[in-house]
Symmetry: D2
Subunit: 345 residues, 4 copies
């Protein structure tokens, strides 16, 4: 039995990790940290936890002091993971970091978007944890940087476009929409029910911090530098993310060919589904599951290829993907604990 600790256990990604791991056949949560509820048990905060799912909550400092575990999930705010990752690694645990702290390989790029890194040496030790792209690297790693939710939806959705000669890589427009839980658990006016309910809006129109991460990975796939014109929007829903991706055609490409290309690319992938032509992704059809649904289309009239990808931002976009990475890290069946169907409706 693999023993897991969740640092940041009472935030949304922490709770989602608890939900997923509670049905994982090979893992047991043995502890966690919580800024607000250290000293309590998880079931004091979440009455749906039974005895077998319960675990003690400590301060972060206590939790990282010689943890009796095999793997640590860092479900911490950006900046905080970097301060504890090395200590946890040094005690022999494998680490899946759900924050942004180890996603960018270049310390200078990190500094531009997030400020200077507290432990830049770890940036090269970390592996970007998207198994659909880097499975072999993850297998050998001990520090996995779990991708951001937007990058996961964009890399899976746009990646295959960039390996087609018909596509002009210079004109990539990505219009993304995210559920509110992506902003984390906390008291903020901007994510309060009355400000968000019945509302829809763009935000961070020119400088979302997930951009360098997308570009880093899409450039690797394309084999040349790719820039992304990226706009995030807020959906009045708790979960769910859609990225609508536009790529300019240099020469004709049929929708059938494009779909075939996606099917070939994701053949055998347990969590990626390429939808039938004429069917488009719907966040409700992936809610609470680790699936990514991708629809593709060609607009011959205007000369654009369109790819649309849907994930649950908390599952495939965060905690589900983290468990998938853990499965790869430990050589388990990649689907273990992740086969639950979405909650529909």
């Amino acid at each position: 039995m693999i023993r897991a600790v969740i640092l940041g256990a009472t935030g949304y990604t922490g709770i989602e990790l608890t939900r997923i791991l509670s049905t994982h056949p090979d893992v047991r949560i043995v502890g966690g940290s919580s800024r607000n509820w250290a000293g309590k048990s998880a079931c004091d905060i979440f009455p749906f936890l039974g005895e077998s799912e319960n675990f003690p909550l400590q301060t972060l400092e206590d939790a990282v002091t010689s943890p009796q575990a095999d793997v640590a999930f860092l479900a911490l705010p950006h900046g905080e993971s970097a301060t504890v990752a090395r200590q946890v690694l040094d005690t022999g645990l494998k680490v899946v970091d759900l924050s942004a702290d180890h996603r960018l390989a270049d310390p200078q790029v990190y500094a531009e978007w997030y400020g200077s890194h507290k432990d830049p040496g770890l940036l090269t030790r970390a592996v970007y944890g998207l198994p659909e792209v880097h499975r072999e690297l993850i297998r050998k790693a001990d520090l996995v940087a779990n991708p951001g939710c937007y990058p996961t939806s964009v890399i899976l959705g746009a990646g295959p476009l960039l390996t087609r000669p018909e596509i002009d890589k210079g004109y990539l427009v990505v219009d993304s929409k995210s559920g509110v839980s992506g902003a984390g658990r906390g008291a903020k006016l901007g994510t309060s029910f009355c400000e968000v309910g019945e509302s829809f809006k763009p935000y961070g129109v020119t400088g979302h911090r997930h951009i360098p991460e997308m570009e880093q990975e899409l450039s690797k796939i394309a084999g040349s530098e790719v820039k992304v014109r990226f706009t995030p929007h807020l959906i009045p829903a708790s979960r769910g993310m859609i990225s609508t991706i536009y790529a300019r055609l240099r020469k004709p490409l049929s929708r059938e060919e494009l779909r075939e290309h996606y099917c070939a690319r994701y053949k055998g992938e347990p969590f990626v589904r390429v939808l039938s032509l004429g069917t488009f992704p719907d966040t409700l059809m992936v809610r609470g599951s680790n699936q990514c649904h991708i629809g593709v289309e060609i607009d011959e009239r205007t000369g654009w290829a369109i790819a649309m990808s849907a994930i649950d931002n908390l599952t495939k976009g965060a905690s589900g993907l983290a468990v998938q990475n853990m499965n790869v890290l430990f050589g388990l069946d990649e689907r273990a604990g992740l086969q639950g169907l979405p909650l529909f409706p």
Copy 2:
């Protein structure tokens, strides 16, 4: 491996059965019926179904003709179950009926609320499928009448009150609130997004069909006839049900005593959680799970006891309970397939 068929597989309770059974270790869905999509496969309608979860959809007529299965779930409209239940039973299957057709033991009461029954002989063969109350009877049955969602929340929430001498059984007021999925899957103006979103309203104020069912079961528990003043309301949410139950005190009873009484009553029950004093149930804390959360309180100022119970109307209020009943019917671990935590948020 127990082979299951789901009659009415593409409605909300049918989909929810599919979701739950997909992770059940001892069951495989081998077929289903669908009025609208007979001839297709389940995964044609629900792209989140993988190959291993897929099954063929037939007409109801075809599906009940010598089904190669061990158990049938009837997720059919009221009135329709009664026309096929006997045929299915005769082919040797055990039956869990999610409709109202076999819940009322008295054919005359059935007729008053639903019209005349098409096969009244089955009413006495059926067992009312609330394991927390009738576990032993269910074990020996072959036809289980799965309770309505409102009755489940009310019987579990109010039952223990009726065995206390301090409570006046003559003044039971139940104010219930249900998510929209309780109205079923179908095109109706009254459940369309724009009519229900940002709306809250009572309906069926004096004659909801779940009343005779509640009263039948609560009277058994009380040992004397109980009447319920019952008002249902519609919540602008897909899932979730709260019943707020008011019972008049004849003499003093402390909140601690009342809570202890509930804890004793539900000790060992895998799905019922009695909350700490001062904590109240929240539908989001049970969403997608088979749990029932109950909070209790005493209002000394006015002389009332209050019990509040929360369930997910599609899970503990329908398909989760149906699987729980199946587990009892087949002698399996009652929790099998039902241990998933709620989807929060």
Copy 3:
């Protein structure tokens, strides 16, 4: 032209006052206060405000120093109104206080529920501002205590029951449900989108602060002390409030008679609508309007009368009612500025 100032102009009741007054033929907003945005203009915060609706925002301290206005709306937190009301009255303005600070006539009762009052002398000077009950008193007042949202829905809904001999006044059960905006504008985890969306829950089950206010007014109507068994719940919607009111019958009363009684009671009232028998109130049908919709029913089977009343908690439950009170105070047409229809859907 009546000149108005809004103290607390950027909270939800302040914004709602701005919306309503912007179409009032006889009023102009000349200033306001805002804790967070003092020094700015209202249109800096709310881009939908045009030049003609704009006004400067000051600190509360500055705003109450010799305001050049005729009326002040105190849209302030409980406790804060009491510290400024006298100063504003002394400069000759009439005051409509939307907080709870002047609603309870008895300083001892106030102290029990809110702590000691900072200016108890004002409690007897203030008039309880429900024009449907106290119109003549309001006309002569200079300090109007605007009722709480729950009390408004309960007093209008339950009041007429208490003047019927068939009703037993000793068993009043009120089950109320409120939209999230009732909790005010502010950053709180408990009202964040992900905690409230798709959730429904009771809160404050035995001690909501609106209870003494309801009981004070209902007792006046009944002519004897009335106690209310009151449970508030949170609806996953921004606006809207329903109170479902249960009163025990001592002797028979027909639904027709009961409805007639309500119609007679509210004849001529511009904002109260008694619905047809069999029609029940719906918060969406009053959203953004100053209307109160009341439905009534008799349950002969169990011996209860039921009244259901719906309001928009921010309009008839707060700012609309405040403008109605202002209209009475200044001898204007009571409907001025308040005739807009609800926003449906």
Copy 4:
């Protein structure tokens, strides 16, 4: 007093017309048609209507037979307006048609997207009713084709881009999102609460019928043929529409210059607000109002200009715009009846 009839009075645009006209100083609704409720009064269907706002409902056939009115609003399904428009015009009424039937000037284009037109002669008589573009033409018209909701948000949002030399008109990508009410009032599975709530999805990805209308108008503005790569999405909200518009830069353009250009273009327009730089439109900030909020941005990194426009699809996107057109048609103050602020929250 201008007498108005609303054909299709009980659909969402019909109700919204009723709401707006109820506060219009110069208009009285004298009658309406309703397929489902002919023979009743409007207040039978909508209990929030008072006596002064009430009007009789007839069949469409009866309503168009010598109507005693000055203006008719056709809030009818596409295809149906074309069958009655001429008859209404012939009785001397001015007509504002909210359907798509008279928006496309070219009968052949109409036929391609909607099927053959029943009265193609009217296509040249109709004026495209966007006052911000065609005010002078509308003033002289008797048949106004009210624009579609998507085209209104796109033409107002993208129009100014097309008159700048820095913009490459050949790469216009429009990603739009609409509230559910845009699908009309009716019983459809696809717009039921459980299918749409907590869901977000694209639809009609290559062939939405509003495309030819946008392109017709944008081409006029640009002075050359413009094609639009257009994707609509469904927001889980009743009202609201955002169009995020991407246009390729041929040469540098600063965000300040771009904003200035928009401000100059819409100077004096009563309903269009160009937001400050760094502020982005939010559907909740326009809900229920006739305002259009536009935000602009330049992404120098990738070479795109972005414009975002928000409207309420039922108000500025349908019925509010229809009243604005009526105001222009009759020489009234264009703002009459339309000055209500949005309902926030």
